[in-house]
């Protein structure tokens, strides 16, 4: 009887641990699901090799499940991937298997790594790692490897909107190894190929984009028409 009880306890314990990463993700998803839409002001600071751009401002509109619109007076550069893909992917439990990894302290917050392994090889996401603050049910860091865009690492900082799971700052680290100049367009008579080769060797392979988010307006009932592309 004692032996049976011991094995039952052991099974139950392992059973609970096996459920745990999904439960953590469920909590995060529940928080995300509460936010039906939002608008936020973004200050974008991009430090990307081969691109020189001054800090710029934009307004970001978001509506569940994956509608995003960025409105800016000038030209802004944002990562292609990182705003909605991960959340959309995490919202469908059948698409992945979650496995706990190591614990890590990120900016004095205890986090736990969850490895997200897609169940299918045909999707865009190859592997995702998220470091989760389990107490607040928010992602503190993510590292997403995709088929086409390489690996994008994102650091999340939270402020007053932590209750809604909305960050106050996003810092993206992106891979810029693929950047190439179309020679026919960038013909520069004063630069020899040796100069260009030297410049290429000096070039960093990582770029950073920091987005500071402020003035969130949550669940105001954004119309779908906002997300429709205007004819140019």
């Amino acid at each position: 009887m004692k032996k049976n009880l011991f094995f039952s306890f052991l099974f139950l314990t392992f059973g609970v641990f096996a459920q745990e990463p999904e439960k953590v993700i469920e909590k995060i998803n529940a928080k995300m699901a509460f936010v039906k839409d939002y608008t936020v002001n973004a200050h974008i600071d991009a430090d990307i090799p081969m691109i020189k751009i001054m800090p710029s401002n934009a307004k970001i509109y978001f509506k569940q499940k994956d509608k995003v619109k960025i409105e800016s007076k000038g030209i802004t550069i944002l990562p292609k991937q990182g705003f909605t893909e991960l959340n959309t992917f995490l919202s469908d439990k059948s698409k992945y298997t979650a496995v706990f990894g190591d614990s890590l302290k990120i900016r004095d917050v205890d986090t736990r790594l969850i490895n997200i392994i897609p169940n299918s090889t045909s999707g865009e996401i190859v592997l995702a790692k998220i470091w989760v603050d389990q107490k607040n049910a928010v992602i503190m860091r993510s590292q997403v490897t995709t088929q086409t865009n390489g690996t994008v690492k994102t650091d999340f900082k939270y402020g007053s909107q932590i209750g809604n799971g909305l960050p106050s700052e996003l810092k993206f680290e992106i891979d810029v190894k693929k950047f190439k100049m179309p020679k026919s367009v960038a013909a520069d008579i004063n630069k020899t190929s040796a100069d260009q080769k030297k410049a290429k060797e000096k070039q960093r392979t990582k770029g950073n984009i920091t987005i500071t988010l402020s003035d969130y307006k949550v669940n105001t009932g954004l119309s779908d028409s906002i997300f429709k592309e205007k004819k140019k």
């Binding site: 001054m54 000038g74 030209i75 802004t76 944002l78 950047f179 100049m181 179309p182 367009v185």
Partner: protein, 280 residues
């Protein structure tokens, strides 16, 4: 006397139909470029940003009046020398061919003043062409496409300049573009002093520009010593105003070299014209 003769020279330029060819060609070319960019500008820009767009997304008005003006300036500064040479290459040789040079030399004005007045009239015509290029490319592009940040592609990468920081760059770029076109005008007037017909100096000017441009673009070490002294190497230095930070030292170097060419070519022309046999 120099002023009066310059005025007469300019009247001569204005009265020739070929002088309007440049202005007309510019108007048509810029109109075509604006039409093409209005129709398909987005795809042209995405060709430039294609390698970045796998990782990054560009938001905002990429195709705007500032970008179109930059593209026009980039395309036309290469082709405008022909329009300039068409008029300035005829200034001395045209008179030699028609025989009016004898009458001109018999006036109470020195040969040096004749040459200087022709240079001044040629410089004014070049200024008119440059201003027309500026007005059409900037004003019309702004009217059609509106304003916005300027995205410039060079061999080091993309530079995105804020809208408020663009107008002075265009102003100075047009000044340097004018100086490079003035070098072309001076070259063709200089060649014109050696010729007895108009076609020779025009064709020779273009041939020199093409040869120098090819030498400049060939990545061969044997040409490395002469490349920095060719005026064609510095004709594109207006583009440097759209770099961040602006390489003022390089631009000043280009200006000095272009001015040296102008002074040398004017000197050669004066030397030749003062010894020119106009009696036979």
């Amino acid at each position: 006397m120099l002023f009066k003769n310059t005025y007469n020279e300019f009247i001569k330029i204005v009265s020739k139909p070929r002088s309007y060819l440049g202005l007309g060609a510019l108007t048509v070319l810029i109109g075509l470029i604006i039409f093409a960019m209005k129709a398909d500008g987005e795809s042209m820009v995405s060709f430039v940003t294609a390698s970045f767009e796998q990782t990054l997304s560009f938001n905002g008005k990429l195709v705007n009046g500032n970008l179109i003006a930059f593209i026009i300036l980039q395309m036309l500064v290469v082709h405008i020398p022909l329009l300039i040479a068409l008029v300035t290459g005829d200034l001395i040789s045209g008179e030699a061919a028609m025989g009016t040079i004898r009458m001109l030399a018999s006036k109470p004005i020195s040969r040096t003043q004749i040459v200087l007045s022709k240079f001044t009239a040629g410089a004014i015509y070049t200024l008119v062409i440059t201003l027309w290029l500026g007005i059409l490319s900037l004003l019309v592009s702004h009217l059609v496409f509106g304003t916005g940040d300027l995205m410039v592609l060079n061999s080091d990468g993309l530079v995105i300049l804020p809208e408020a920081d663009i107008l002075w760059r265009f102003g100075l770029a047009f000044c340097v573009a004018y100086l490079s076109l003035l070098t072309v005008a001076t070259l063709s007037i200089c060649l014109s002093a050696f010729a007895e017909n108009s076609i020779g100096p025009i064709v020779a000017t273009m041939a020199i520009i093409i040869i120098f441009t090819i030498i400049g673009s060939l990545d061969v070490t044997v040409f490395d010593t002469i490349k920095p002294y060719l005026f064609t190497t510095h004709m594109a230095s207006w583009r440097s105003f759209f770099e961040d930070p602006v390489p003022f030292d390089d631009i000043i170097n280009s200006i000095v070299i272009l001015l040296t060419h102008i002074v040398l070519l004017v000197g050669i022309t004066l030397f030749k014209f003062n010894r020119k046999d106009i009696t036979s």
